[in-house]
């Protein structure tokens, strides 16, 4: 509880600091809306010509898309600091974090707040609500319970994968982690139904880099869509695995940390 409170306060302090720059805030909110808008435009264009893609209707795809955007916003809110990890390592700035009685990983995560988090959370939340409204979902208690498990699990997967991707900085040692950026781009592929990709790519996105468990699989099981819908039930397990992976990779990396200077 104490750990969470400190985490929240650290984020809050950075949030207050970032909000000082009002222009930045609005530019990034608009940027998030425009970026995600472009993706939605693509979906709208495709569905203007074909009614379904691999059995997926427009609002079902929007639901997957919305989950991905919401997850991105969550990661930008809770773990944006990890994108600065390469620089922190490179400049020896983890030193000061190692001197405080608080987990280093959480200090890194809460050392920044992503401004576009607010844009993405708003857009993602909006897409989720409107897709669900159009999809005629029967909200039985079971469905509600399922959603209550799937949603946080999916968001946790995204945050954990961001941590894993950036923890590679301990090995790569450059000032900017381009590898993590590349992985993140790869994850963007799962904004669309997984079945449109080649089998190899599907396998990678479902296992080694389980980005498909952020949007595609949870939505599949929630809507009972397709033969592989049951795979979505694994989402909480995948989330637990990803959290474990994030903590392990980060602490392994931390052991390699050699500060800077002499």
């Amino acid at each position: 509880m104490h750990t969470l409170r400190v985490y929240r306060r650290s984020l809050g302090a950075h949030l207050r600091a970032t909000l000082e720059y009002q222009a930045d805030f609005w530019i990034l909110v608009v940027a998030a809306v425009l970026t995600q808008g472009a993706g939605l435009l693509l979906i709208a264009t495709i569905f203007a010509r074909v009614p379904r893609i691999h059995g997926w209707g427009v609002w079902e795809v929007v639901l997957i898309f919305g989950m991905m955007v919401l997850a991105q916003g969550t990661s930008e809110l809770l773990a944006e600091g990890t994108w600065g990890l390469a620089g922190l390592i490179n400049r020896g700035e983890l030193d000061r974090m190692l001197l405080r009685p608080y987990p280093c990983l959480l200090q890194v995560c809460s050392s920044r707040v992503g401004m576009n988090a607010f844009g993405n959370l708003t857009v993602g939340g909006g897409l989720l609500v409107s897709a669900l409204a159009h999809l005629d979902v029967a909200w039985t208690p079971g469905r509600v319970a399922l959603a209550a498990v799937l949603l946080p699990s999916a968001l946790l997967i995204k945050v954990s994968l961001t941590v894993v991707a950036n923890s590679t900085s301990f090995w790569l040692r450059g000032a900017i982690n381009t590898f993590a950026g590349g992985l993140d781009q790869l994850g963007e592929l799962t904004k669309y139904p997984l079945s449109i990709y080649s089998v190899g790519l599907q396998a990678v996105l479902a296992t080694a880099l389980p980005f498909a468990f952020i949007g595609f699989f949870p939505v599949s099981v929630f809507l009972q869509h397709g033969r592989l819908a049951w795979v979505g039930l694994l989402t909480p397990l995948v989330a637990a695995w990803c959290v474990f992976l994030a903590v392990t990779v980060f602490s392994r990396g931390l052991r390699r940390y050699e500060s800077a200077g002499n």
Binding site: A17, G92, L99, R100, P101, Y102, N262
Partner: protein, 342 residues
């Protein structure tokens, strides 16, 4: 240094860094990708150090001697390649959280404040992380605000502070949780004279109040005004360990007399009369500098000898202090200077 409880105990401490060995240029970088070669650099090569509760230790040596690496090993930032460390019974790199409560660290070259936050936010976050009770926090803050005069800095963003202001805020941040031992890595680097004096006075007060201090510095003023014990390190090894005063008396036995003469100095004549002294001219031929061992002859005898040979207009006597000593220590070509201290 009686056998009270050892607060810091390091035995056989070694830290090696692997440095990639690359030929220069792009070709070299590409070659390194295929055939990876590393040089092993021993920054700390077997250090034994014991610091008792309440001691104030200066840890000095030339750049690259392994001072900061030692501090990073003692604070748990780095994991030693070999050897053991214990600080207040805790192995720092193994139990960083428990260690953090016992120690405070100030790096002169790098701030520990949150760069983008107002100073008071840093203090409040530290209060939460260290779980400092509200009453203790208020008492601590009141005291630090008073002696370091940081009150007016509290609403300012850390990155907008001047170096002197930043150092005072950094000191406060490191001491907020009232640590038993404080490591200071070049705390007065780059500060102007008046801020330096304030920082030193504060550190002296800290030592008088019973806090254990380990101070890394190149500044003699820091050593003489704050520390009672001096440890000299070079090439990763401890070369000298003893009280500051004794070091000054035994090693710094050289004196220099500077003369201003009415006529050009008759160097050969003076050298003949003072065979064991070093006789040179200064900026002009009329400036004479005589350096000698004051245990062999008093300054008065040197002055009298010169006055007997040439008309002297003015003279000044300089005793070598710890400053010259450190300069000699830093001159790696003459390690003999150290052996006398043994």
């Amino acid at each position: 240094m009686a056998s009270t409880s050892a607060l810091v105990e390091a035995t056989g401490l070694v830290k090696e860094f692997r440095r990639p060995r690359k030929a220069p240029g792009l070709a070299g970088a590409l070659k390194h990708l295929v055939t990876r070669r590393f040089d092993v650099h021993r920054a700390v090569a077997g250090i034994d150090l014991r610091i008792d509760e309440g001691e104030s230790v200066a840890y000095v040596g030339p750049n690259g001697a392994g001072k900061s690496t030692t501090v990073k090993l003692l604070t748990g930032i780095l994991v030693p390649t070999a050897g053991e460390v214990r600080v207040a019974g805790v192995v720092p790199h193994r139990d960083r959280v428990a260690n953090a409560r016992n120690v405070g660290v100030v790096f002169g070259q790098r701030t520990q404040l949150w760069w983008d936050l107002p100073v008071h936010e840093t203090f409040e976050l530290l209060r939460d992380m260290y779980r400092i009770p509200a009453a203790d926090y208020r008492r601590s803050m009141d005291r630090l605000c008073e002696v370091l005069e940081i009150g007016p800095l509290l609403p300012v963003l850390a990155r907008k502070l001047s170096l002197g202001q930043r150092m005072r805020a950094d000191l406060a941040a490191a001491l907020l949780h009232e640590p038993r031992i404080v490591y200071l890595d070049e705390p007065t680097i780059g500060l102007d004279v008046s801020v330096k004096d304030r920082v030193r006075a504060f550190l002296r007060q800290l030592v008088d109040d019973g806090t254990t201090v380990l101070l890394t510095t190149h500044d003699v003023g820091d050593i003489e005004e704050v520390c009672r014990r001096i440890v000299v390190v070079d090439e990763g090894r401890i070369r000298h360990d003893g009280p500051v005063g004794v070091l000054r008396d035994t090693l710094a036995s050289n004196s220099t007399v500077r003369f201003q003469l009415a006529a050009p100095a008759p160097l050969h004549l003076i050298r003949e009369r003072l065979p064991d002294a070093e006789v040179t001219t200064g900026a002009s031929e009329r400036d004479l500098v005589v350096r000698f061992d004051r245990t062999l002859r008093p300054a008065g005898a040197v002055a009298a000898t010169v006055m007997g040979l040439v008309e002297v207009r003015d003279l000044r006597i300089d005793d070598e202090g710890v400053a010259d000593l450190i300069r000699r220590l830093h001159d790696r070509d003459s390690p003999a200077a150290l052996n006398g201290a043994g």
